[in-house]
């Protein structure tokens, strides 16, 4: 997100899901879409079936590769170099959109100063992608009118995450593939309401609608509306919270519906931090790994048991409607927060989520035109500033929020952790189709179908270890070890293995590296050096 | 192109039959099945034993399948004599008398082709014979007379003159115009005007176009296409090449069923030979015209003869028809405009181009021009392949050409058009054979299968037989065909087994009509024809099965009753000993009796009885 915010001035999917079927080229990079976003994956495959060309950049032979026109099997952690290579071809072959660069961007010279050092022949050495594929992909993307970029965590979950995103923005801008229908830079957001949580200001530096807490005018407006004093200093990000909890500065935490003790990197460190708190209150559906450290657990309601709204990856705000009554004594999370606030001397009076939404919309310009009444039907995409505004299908037509788009040359930096003799295999992590976070482990049907991890390893590794599909192995990183069953498959190339993060029985984040992107504070989940041992 | 002309002249001058006697054996599928290979071996052995200087070669089916193996003996300057039913035992005599002594063995000779030579006495002369007199051989003109594997013989007999003319003097539009003038209609069954079809494909937008030859001949008892492919593969290839030029295609497929290995082998040889001589492939005859031809072997599903199913099969998908429009002329193979004709249609093309559309149109009737190849099978004397002008009557075909019914039994019906055709009774024998007349009578032209039935044929059983076939071959896509054929077959089976009820006939008739009106493809729309036509012309047979529990033709086993005539029975006991079911009892020297409850109607007793005392009712 941070990368797009720097380049464009706003970080969100620029285009809409419904546009995918009209795309002629889809550059899919670091996204196993058919498993992580299956219904968008469907649309990509439908586009391919209709004749659109898919360029898939992924170290693994994911399902989309079967539908791809070009597959660029990239070494994890080398995206910046690859994108520089693509831009090298586009610039040297004169395939840039000169008019767009001139009118809509700044910094092209700066970009070229870096990119000129990345001819495909050199990039091939860094990324493992053959030079001719880099040429072909660059030409195809640059010369197709309706060409869109789609990415997810394979791009952002790196120490170079922000650089990766900024470089994709560079690529889109020099070819003029942004600010219009059917082209753009599209982060497919992983969680159902991660877009909404950001929009709502569940971030340490912004109020709802990305209004800076450091801005006195903004602060004044919120202080007036909320009738309180407001802190001018931006707060802490998750890794900082964890570190400061471990260091004894953070004394109490209130965690609603997250499980950092399973899903954050290097969970040994996370668990140490949680154990060090004076007080931890959890609000959740299940006793998660994190909840085991809690002093109080407050039972929340599932999405089926409450009303509200989610904002999807394409900025579409849609209604969530209550279908079941809350189980047992469970209560919708908004009611719990209200009750707690009242006990802390700040009564919050809301009869319904609709009232909360109305208050939020009155303070959030991009949501200002929305109301529950307007969300009936098929939802609205922000920005939607006035009650008459139809919502926004694609972003950045005519101008970027920051004015001109920022082109910035970015040098390739190797990932924080590299393989060596002791840890010769590169572990990369991600989602799989049948599970989502941890809740699906409690779904009887999904859980019975995929009850345990099946770490993907290449037949070469399997032969070395003497294991077959279904056998157990021990995976060891510089931070920890675990035992998991394996699936022997050529979906992963030799030297690379893949695990998901869904299983507490084989918690992959015991292995991962808590090295963070300096700007977005996203961890390098995608690159961990490990070795395999026979399970003892 | 000049080269081709010169080559042809050279070939024609050094007539392929030289100064030595030649022996030619019919080695098409029918010839081989009848023992042609053994005869060939015997001939080779005999010639070698005697140390004679004689050429031995093979040819294709001349049409007289009933007389295979056929051997042609030709002496220099003498008529070519065709012997039928040749066995290895007859070979020494044949060689001794005809080859060495120059005297044909008249009692074995079928026919002679005299050309400029003086005919032998006492052997029917082709084409003046009764068998050939009514025939007009166009697409079958080389069959049995030339070596189908020889491009030289094809060219020497006028082959590739048409392509030469087309590429040298005609525009694609002129070619299509010539085909339109000829009045040629699709020989695969539906009879769509070929020229019109070509013009649709030509006019369809698109750079890439295909021509496809439908050689998925699937009707039981039909072998027209096989005979032409085995006997004159070059004519089909030349016809397709001309079609490709006319519609603007550069690639073609012959979809041939895998059950025709010899046809596929000869096609492959022919394609290779034509390619080698610049008659196929890149830059044909130096004109810049390209045409690549492939063979696709089909797995034998009857429905793949339906053009959209055929295209699906070539594309590697399941052979299921799809709805038209769009027609293949608009969206065919891989979505490209595609012209599909069958073997006989393409084989006609070189002759039409060579002799002119007017020549072709001068044959046949007003709406059905030219000739048609038929396969005669069933209870006729001369089964085989014939080619006749359109408009000839059924009576002429069955009685004049094919010699009438075997054992001079009573004619009952002729089934035309394969399993989707109809059964026509005696009073339709004077019907002219053309598309419209046949359809009006409840049959169809089909691809040219003609099955003749005699008095011993049960028409209900015939309908059941064909429904059994179409039911098994239904692709399963549309409800009426998939479920309807199943239920029609069940009703027919019930009737044949004596379990029928009169209301079954109404149900059957309604169901057959609905299936005909609603099925998706030609297979489904025509599969009720055997039922509808037999119900129309032979309803009394159905009623006899239902009301009287009797099969008038004594075919339906469940309805047969074997009885012993006490007056004729001598009480010898042979029948009782032969009966596997122990159903016959009686004292020695006393008339025996058959217990109908035990009788399994196998007929063994009747065969064993020397006194004709047992009869079947």
């Amino acid at each position: 997100m941070a990368g797009l915010a720097i380049a464009f001035g706003s970080g969100a999917m620029t285009n809409s899901i419904a546009e995918i079927e009209h795309n002629d080229v889809l550059l899919i990079i670091g996204s196993n879409t058919t498993e992580a976003h299956p219904v968008i994956g469907q649309k990509m495959k439908q586009a391919a079936r209709r004749g659109a060309k898919l360029i898939v950049v992924d170290p693994r032979r994911i399902e989309l590769v079967e539908h791809a026109y070009l597959w660029l099997p990239i070494r994890p952690g080398t995206n910046v170099a690859l994108i520089n290579g693509l831009m090298y071809v586009i610039i040297t072959e004169g395939l840039v959109d000169k008019k767009f660069i001139e009118e809509r961007t700044e910094g092209f010279e700066n970009l070229w100063a870096v990119v000129q050092n990345y001819p495909p022949e050199r990039v091939a050495g860094i990324t493992g992608v053959p030079a001719e594929k880099i040429y072909a992909a660059a030409r195809l993307y640059a010369t197709t009118e309706r060409a869109g970029i789609f990415y997810t965590l394979g791009i952002t979950e790196h120490t170079s995450g922000t650089s990766n995103v900024m470089n994709l923005a560079n690529l889109a801008m020099i070819t003029g593939h942004v600010g219009k229908e059917f082209s753009g830079v599209n982060p497919l957001r992983g969680q159902n309401n991660v877009q909404g949580a950001c929009d709502m200001g569940a971030l340490p530096d912004v109020f709802p609608g990305y209004q800076k807490v450091a801005n006195p005018e903004v602060r004044e407006r919120f202080a007036a509306a909320w009738n309180c004093q407001l802190d001018a200093t931006p707060g802490l990000r998750i890794p900082e919270m964890i570190d400061l909890a471990a260091g004894g500065y953070i004394r109490a935490m209130y965690i609603m519906g997250e499980d950092p003790a399973l899903t954050d990197p290097d969970i040994t460190h996370v668990r140490k931090a949680l154990a060090n708190l004076d007080f931890l209150v959890m609000q959740d559906l299940f006793i998660s790994e994190t909840a085991k450290f809690a002093d109080v657990i407050l039972p929340g309601a599932s999405f089926l048991e409450k009303d509200g709204t989610f904002t999807s990856t394409e900025r579409r705000v849609q209604r969530v409607r209550r279908a079941l009554s809350p189980r047992g004594e469970c209560r919708p999370d908004w009611q719990i927060i209200c009750d707690l606030a009242a006990r802390l001397g700040y009564p919050m009076h809301y009869d319904s989520p609709e009232q909360i939404f109305a208050e939020m919309a009155s303070l959030t310009p991009s949501y200002a035109g929305m109301s529950y009444a307007r969300l009936e039907g098929n939802g609205l995409q922000w920005p939607c500033p006035t009650p008459e505004h139809p919502g926004t299908k694609f972003l950045h037509a005519g101008r970027f929020p920051r004015g001109k788009g920022l082109l910035q040359g970015i040098e390739y930096q190797p990932p924080a952790e590299l393989t060596d003799e002791e840890y010769p295999i590169l572990l990369t992590t991600g989602r799989m189709l049948y599970h989502y976070g941890i809740t699906t482990r409690h779904s009887p049907s999904l859980e019975s179908y995929r009850p345990e991890e099946l770490a993907e390893i290449n037949p070469a590794q399997a032969a070395e270890l003497g294991v077959r599909t279904g056998d157990r192995v021990t995976v060891v990183s510089r931070r920890g070890r675990l035992v998991t069953k394996v699936k022997v498959t050529d979906r992963v190339p030799p030297g690379i293995m893949f695990m998901t993060y869904h299983y507490k029985e084989s918690p992959v984040n015991i292995l991962t590296n808590a090295a963070f992107d300096p700007i977005a504070k996203t961890a390098e989940y995608k690159v961990t050096a490990v070795r395999l041992e026979p399970a003892s | 192109m000049q080269d081709l002309k010169e080559w042809r002249e050279t070939l024609q001058q050094q007539s392929h039959r030289g100064d030595r006697p030649s022996l030619t054996v019919g080695m098409s599928t029918c010839g081989q099945a009848a023992g042609g290979a053994k005869v060939m071996a015997a001939l080779e052995e005999e010639i070698a034993r005697r140390g004679l200087q004689v050429d031995i070669s093979q040819t294709s089916c001349i049409g007289m399948c009933y007389a295979e193996p056929i051997v042609e003996v030709a002496l220099p300057g003498k008529p070519r004599v065709f012997y039928g039913d040749v066995t290895p035992e007859r070979v020494p005599t044949l060689v001794e008398k005809h080859v060495l002594q120059g005297e044909p063995v008249r009692e074995w000779a079928l026919i002679q082709l005299s050309g400029e030579a003086t005919p032998y006495e006492g052997i029917p002369v082709m084409p003046g014979s009764t068998y050939y007199g009514r025939q007009v051989r166009v697409v079958t003109s080389r069959l049995g007379l030339t070596n189908p594997e020889s491009l030289e013989e094809y060219i020497a007999t006028g082959g590739y003159e048409a392509l030469e003319k087309v590429l040298g003097q005609m525009t694609p539009e002129q070619v299509i115009e010539e085909i339109k003038i000829s009045g040629l209609r699709g020989r695969g069954g539906a009879g769509f005007p070929t020229g019109l079809k070509w013009s649709f494909t030509r006019q369809a937008p698109g750079d890439k176009k295909y021509v496809v030859c439908n050689a998925d001949e699937g009707d039981p008892g039909a072998f027209m296409d096989r005979s032409v492919l085995e006997g004159d593969p070059f004519s089909v290839i030349e016809g397709m090449t001309i079609a490709a030029y006319a519609i603007g295609a550069d690639e073609g497929y012959i979809y041939c069923r895998a059950e025709y290995p010899l046809a596929i082998k000869r096609l492959k040889m022919a394609i290779a030979a034509a390619g080698e001589k610049g008659l196929l492939g890149r830059d044909i005859l130096g004109t810049g015209f390209n045409f690549d031809l492939h063979i696709k072997a089909g797995a034998g599903a009857f429905v793949c003869g339906e053009e959209t199913a055929l295209l699906a099969s070539i594309e590697g998908r399941q052979g299921m028809p799809r709805v038209r429009p769009p027609f293949p002329a608009q969206q065919g193979l891989w979505g490209k405009p595609t012209n599909i004709n069958n073997v006989e249609t393409y084989a006609n093309v070189p002759f039409i181009i060579k002799n002119g559309g007017q020549w072709f149109a001068s044959m046949g009737t007003e709406k059905s021009k030219g000739t048609k190849v038929f396969c005669l099978t069933g209870k006729i004397k001369k089964t085989g392949l014939i080619e006749v002008p359109m408009g000839i009557t059924l009576r002429e075909i069955i009685f004049d050409i094919a010699g009438g019914i075997q054992d001079d039994k009573q004619f009952k019906a002729v089934q035309i058009g394969g399993p989707s055709g109809g059964c026509l009774p005696e009073d339709k024998l004077d019907l002219p054979v053309d598309y419209e007349s046949l359809t009006a009578a409840g049959a169809i032209m089909g691809s040219g299968g003609m099955v003749v039935m005699d008095e011993n044929t049960c028409m209900v059983d015939v309908a059941r037989f064909f429904l059994n076939f179409t039911q098994a071959e239904s692709c399963g896509k549309c409800t009426p065909c998939r479920e309807g054929t199943k239920r029609m077959l069940e009703i027919l089976t019930r009737i044949c087994e004596g379990e029928g009820r009169m209301e079954d006939l109404d149900t059957l008739e309604t169901l057959a009509r609905v299936v005909k009106n609603t099925a998706l493809c030609g297979l489904g729309q025509t599969c009720p024809n055997p039922i509808l036509s037999t119900l129309q012309y032979f309803r009394h047979e159905y009623e006899a099965h239902i009301k009287d529990k009797r099969c008038p033709a004594h075919v339906c086993q469940a309805l047969l009753v074997y009885t012993i005539d006490a007056g004729k029975c001598t009480g010898c006991g042979a029948c009782a000993r032969a009966c596997p079911a122990g159903a016959i009892s009686g004292e020695k020297k006393q008339p025996h009796r058959i217990d109908p409850a035990l009788c399994i109607k196998c007929g063994s007793c009747m065969e064993k009885c020397k006194f004709g005392a047992i009869s079947r009712l």
Binding site: S16, A36, H37, P38, Q42, K45, Q191, N192, N193, V194, A197, M200, G201, L230, G235, L236, M241, A252, Y254, R271, L277, L285, F286, I287, A294, D295, F303, L304, T309, F310, S312, T313, V317, L324, W334, D339, L340, I356, G379, G437, T439, H442, S443, P444, S445, S448, T522 | V303, P325, A472, E473, S474, G476, R482, E483, R487, V514, N517, T518, Q525
Partner: protein
């Protein structure tokens, strides 16, 4: 595109060229039954239930694959058409189990509805019926091929929507069957991703959600439209509920998002909400931190205790010693309140959530 005027059942109708006769009729309120037709899938023309009579055309063309032409005269309910449709239904029923009494599809079954509409009892033919074993070796979908009417919608949805091509027709004629390659089950095929979109388009009871069997009849269900919780796509759901229990989940047709299609999680994963693992009362820790031992408490006790501890820590260490993780799983309203709570009530900007993308 130019308009075309035609007559259907005596009514003059003008529609855009290229429209099918079926569409033209339906757009004008004229009833034509279909089993294999779905406007979101390529036309198939297989069930032949939609046949109509068109002047000048041979036989009875299928209206779903016949495009309108200027001056066309169409009859959708002539005696010939009705006879054909009844016959088609008789044929389908002749090879269909008679277990409508307990069939999960009863009340939403197209075959049942049309048989009722045309008064077809399915007693015209008495012959062979299929007797295939039930396929229920996976936790999501039950396949009863005895009920399959071979409309092919599942095949098309798998090929055209999910683009997985797991199933197709196999065998011929009466023995035609929908199956993965080599007659394997969906599970054995290892190709099926259990998106269940085939179940959603099945017009009869051949495909059913396993977990919904015996849970509620069609007419007992309350349907609620909501948004899926399993990823950021925002697929619209139609949740069917009976007695405060989710009977099944299907895609709701929001043409801008999922057009009614779903994935395995969205369709089958909602059962997590009714898991016995759910915490249903507030809990207070009794064991060591991290041990995971708790006792149940009342809401008042839990909230009072929490408020007291937060207040104490705030007073002792300051607002900034408290931090909150909000949730990308919760609603906008809840996230808004959480950050408001931290900023306005606790007095710190220490609020973040796991926003990895």
């Amino acid at each position: 595109m130019a308009d075309v005027t035609l007559t259907i059942d005596g009514k003059r109708i003008t529609v855009p060229a290229g429209t099918t006769v079926l569409q033209a009729a339906r757009d004008n309120g004229i009833f034509i039954p279909t089993l294999c037709h779905d406007p979101k899938l390529t036309p198939w023309g297989g069930c032949r239930l939609c046949v109509v009579e068109i002047e000048g055309m041979r036989g009875l063309p299928a209206s779903c694959v016949t495009t309108v032409a200027e001056g066309m005269v169409v009859q959708t309910a002539s005696p010939q058409v009705v006879e054909a449709r009844k016959m088609m239904l008789e044929l389908l029923l002749a090879n269909h189990p008679r277990d409508c009494l307990t069939c999960s599809k009863s009340g939403a079954c197209s075959l049942q509805d049309y048989a009722y509409y045309y008064g077809v009892r399915g007693d015209k033919f008495h012959g062979e019926k299929h007797d295939y074993p039930l396929e229920d070796d996976n936790p999501f979908i039950v396949r009863d091929m005895n009920k399959c009417i071979l409309c092919g919608k599942c095949i098309r949805v798998c090929a055209e929507v999910q683009v997985n091509n797991v199933i197709d027709f196999a065998h011929r004629g009466f023995n035609t069957r929908v199956t993965p390659a080599m007659d394997l089950t969906l599970r054995e095929s290892e190709e099926c991703v259990f998106c269940g979109n085939c179940v959603q388009v099945c017009p009869v009871g051949a495909l059913a959600e396993k977990a919904s069997l015996w849970q509620g009849r069609e007419w007992e269900l309350t349907k609620v439209r909501t948004t899926c919780t399993f990823c950021g796509v925002g697929c619209n759901l139609e949740v069917s509920v009976k007695d405060d229990h989710v009977v099944r989940v299907r895609g709701y047709d929001n043409p801008l998002v999922n057009s009614g299609w779903l994935c395995v999680k969205g369709r089958f994963g909602a059962d997590f909400a009714e898991s016995p693992d759910r915490i249903t009362r507030p809990l207070i820790r009794v064991g060591e931190r991290g041990e995971g031992r708790f006792r149940e408490a009342t809401w008042d006790e839990a909230l009072d205790y929490t408020a007291r501890r937060l207040q104490e820590i705030k007073e002792q260490y300051g607002s900034r010693a408290i931090a909150a993780l909000s949730s990308a799983r919760c609603t906008n309203e809840e996230n808004y309140l959480m950050q408001k709570f931290m900023r306005a009530v606790i007095g710190t900007n220490n609020v973040d959530h796991c926003a990895r993308t």
